[in-house]
């Protein structure tokens, strides 16, 4: 039985390559997307409970936009924000009332896996 799948969204190709490598080494199934649009265009099952790790600052639509779109679609995906800047307040404002996982880049594999685990355990019931 494979471990749960992780969707990773980041505009930086080198970051995506490294994350795919790391998470696979940890035994996860990883699918990476270089933009929000690429992820939203990807067909996902309604009962898919894979964890979404998303960069906040990206050209075009941001990680916040993606979060909004996912919630708007009433999708109950666990979500972890990964950011290179210290924008806790932006995330808090965007996700008012919702407990969110926020990872500050650079992060270790343990930090990443713990955040994924916590997000998956807390799954929001919509």
């Amino acid at each position: 039985m494979s471990r749960p799948e992780i969707y990773f969204v980041d505009d930086d190709a080198t970051v995506l390559t490294a994350m795919k490598r790391l998470l696979r080494a940890c035994g996860y199934q990883v699918t990476v997307f270089q933009s929000v649009k690429a992820f939203l265009d990807h067909p996902v099952d309604r009962d898919d409970r894979s964890c979404l790790v998303v960069d906040i600052h990206m050209p075009g639509q941001s990680g916040i936009d993606l979060h909004r779109a996912v919630r708007a679609a009433q999708r109950d995906l666990p979500l972890v924000f990964a950011t290179g800047a210290a924008d806790f307040r932006i995330v808090e404002q965007a996700c008012a009332g919702e407990s969110i996982e926020l990872l500050q880049k650079p992060f270790t594999d343990t930090e990443l896996l713990s955040a994924v685990a916590r997000a998956s355990a807390r799954r929001v019931n919509v």
Binding site: D12, A18, M19, L22, A86, F107, D109
Partner: protein, 645 residues
């Protein structure tokens, strides 16, 4: 010849003769035909200076030797011809000149003049029996007559002289004007100069004296009349200067000066002179102007001035503010500087003075404790005359303080601006660095796990390490670029293409635009001319303007946050526009935007745009802002000069 022919034998006749002689108001004497005195009256004795009785029996040679020949000749002629000589003036030396000196040899005013009359005495037989002599001393009368004649001649001369002078007076004329009781007046004398000065001929003015008044400018005319009437009423001299318009239209200053005199018929005459004083007046005005100017300059000068002798005695001083002095002016005047100034300063001044005497000028900077603080002065000394030294002292304290303040505030401004900018870009810098760092960390840990697993592949590991190296290099580049950007102060202007200017800030502004969710378009037409610019400074301007633009759109929903940067070649410059879609700039603020410390931001320091302006100015460019006309927001423009190849 009989010795005596006058009959004096009759006592009665003789007595009558004596009585007659005594009564006549002139000197009378009787001579016999041998020309010897028979009798003289006292008046004659008074004239000859010889006692009356002593005359008897003596001739002219005994009585008046100096003129004896002349008188003998006169008398002999009368004896011979029988014709009386009524009046002959004979000059003789003044009495007391003892007869030795000849009549004409002494000074004319020392001569006595005798008026002599000789009348033959005719006897009963018709023969000449003697001579009656009349003698008057007319010296005084003669002198008076001559004096009178001289006086007449000299009065004529004087008048001719005066007229000649009056007629030749340059730019002046002499006049006599008679004032009648009814207030009218007429000239009775005008020297020739009048026509040159007033324009009217003397004849015209004799006919109508009022023509002179009409030439006086209207503003001065009533004052002239008032002064003239006062002079006439009080018999005081008339002395008045006024402006006169000559017939040729030119304006002149004329000075009238005359004395008032009452004439026999009761009218009053003013006699005097009118002089054209335009040149003097102008010179006077110029002098007053220049004096006033000098005074104004002196009053306005903040400098202190001392006039001293070469050995340091104060002769004069000009001080605008007495607090600038160590000792009050009335204390140091006339005394030597050695009494008041510190010894080292005196020594320095003495050296300066020696240099001034040698070379003409010197200067010295020094400090003095004054009113509880140390003040800095600069003294400049110049030679003034042969043995005087003029020292001009300037207080440099404020200047020096201002200079230090300006230096400090410039340094502070630069530091604060760098800090501000640093703060602004820290977030995007963190983003820039954290991406490669995240890549490195993830790759490294993936590598560790790979090594732990049994199926470790060297090729995979090599790939991971290559990615780590690349990410590391990327991080290094970010740091290098940022450091170059923040630390360098010295502007280095060199030819650079606008595309290259943007290349290095591209990553900063793009990542900042991403972070702030603004849509950024950069429009650089191909083949823009090369500009002359300090790359780092202009990048600082660009980043500043872009950060401002993004801040201006902070309140807008993200989809309206549009930011456009474009470059356009324009004349000899390249113009760069940074265009936002924000709320625009209040018209009042447009002109003040680039003033130091002007800000509309709650947290801004108001120095960003000031720095931009000073950088662009230093490049010989122009920076300005305007609200957009084709939509919301504002556009900042700046120009850079095209590099001349």
């Amino acid at each position: 010849m009989p010795r005596t022919t006058v009959d004096t034998s009759t006592p009665g006749l003789m007595a009558q003769l004596r009585a007659l002689y005594a009564a006549v108001p002139v000197g009378v004497g009787l001579l016999d035909t041998d020309l010897r005195f028979i009798h003289v009256n006292q008046r004659l004795a008074n004239i000859t200076g010889v006692a009356a009785d002593a005359h008897t029996g003596l001739g002219w040679h005994d009585i008046a030797p100096a003129v004896a020949d002349e008188l003998d000749t006169l008398c002999r002629d009368a004896l011979t011809t029988g014709v009386p000589v009524t009046c002959v003036d004979i000059c003789r030396a003044e009495r007391g000149a003892d007869g030795d000196s000849p009549a004409g040899a002494t000074r004319p005013d020392a001569l006595a003049v005798w008026r002599v009359g000789v009348t033959p005495v005719v006897g009963d037989a018709g023969d000449i029996t003697g001579l009656t002599i009349t003698l008057q001393d007319v010296t005084a009368r003669k002198r008076d007559a001559e004096a009178l004649r001289d006086a007449r001649a000299s009065a004529d001369q004087r008048q001719a002289f005066l007229h000649a002078v009056a007629d030749r007076l340059p730019r002046a004329f002499v006049y006599r004007v008679v004032h009648r009781a009814d207030g009218s007046m007429y000239f009775t004398y005008l020297s020739k100069g009048v026509e040159a000065v007033v324009g009217h001929t003397a004849d015209e003015l004799f006919e109508n004296a009022d023509l002179v008044l009409q030439r006086i400018v209207e503003e001065d005319r009533s004052a002239f009349m008032t002064a003239m009437l006062r002079a006439l009423e009080t018999f005081t001299p008339f002395d008045f200067a006024c402006r006169v318009r000559w017939l040729d239209g030119s304006l002149h200053w004329s000075h009238f000066r005359s004395a008032v005199r009452s004439l026999d018929d009761g009218t009053l005459a003013c006699e005097g002179l009118m002089v054209d004083v335009t040149d003097q007046k102008r010179a006077e005005d110029a002098l007053q102007d220049s004096q006033a100017r000098n005074d104004a300059i002196l009053a306005a000068l903040p400098d202190i001035m001392f006039l001293q002798t070469a050995d340091g005695i104060y002769l004069d001083a000009h001080v605008a503010d007495p607090r600038q002095l160590l000792v009050p002016k009335d204390v140091f005047m006339g005394r030597r500087m050695h009494e008041f100034l510190p010894a080292d300063l005196v020594a320095a001044f003495e050296a300066c003075f020696r240099q001034v005497l040698r070379e003409g000028a010197s200067s010295y900077e020094y400090s003095l404790p004054l009113n509880g603080e140390t003040r800095h002065f600069e003294a400049r000394m110049v030679k003034c005359g042969t043995n005087r030294i003029l020292t001009i002292v300037r207080d440099l304290t404020e200047n020096r303080r201002a200079l230090l303040d300006a230096q400090a505030s410039r340094a502070e401004l630069a530091r604060v601006s760098r800090l501000t900018l640093l703060g602004e870009i820290t977030a995007s810098l963190a983003h820039e660095l954290n991406q490669p760092l995240a890549t490195i960390l993830a790759n490294a840990q993936a590598g560790e796990r790979l090594l732990d697993s049994p199926q470790a592949d060297v090729a995979d590991l090599r790939e991971i390490l290559a990615d780590i190296v690349e990410a590391d290099q990327r991080a290094g580049q970010v740091i290098r670029r940022t450091r170059a950007w923040l630390t360098r102060d010295e502007p280095i202007r060199q030819p650079i293409t606008p595309a290259n200017l943007f290349a290095e800030v591209d990553h900063v502004i793009r990542s900042e635009a991403i972070r702030r969710q603004a849509r950024l378009t950069i429009d650089l037409p191909p083949a823009l001319p090369v500009v002359l610019a300090d790359k780092v400074q202009i990048q600082q301007v660009l980043v500043n303007l872009l950060l401002n633009a993004m801040e201006a759109m902070q309140e807008l929903p993200p989809h309206l946050r549009r930011l456009a940067v474009r470059a356009v070649a324009e004349d000899a410059t390249v113009r760069i526009d940074v265009c936002d879609a924000g709320t625009g700039i209040e018209p009042d603020h447009l002109t003040r935007l680039f003033d130091p410390f002007f800000t509309t931001k709650a947290t801004g320091l108001g120095i960003g745009l000031r720095i931009c302006a000073s950088i662009v100015d230093a490049h010989g460019g122009r920076i300005w802002a305007a609200n957009n006309t084709d939509g919301p927001g504002a556009t900042f423009h700046f120009t850079l000069p095209i590099a001349v190849s």
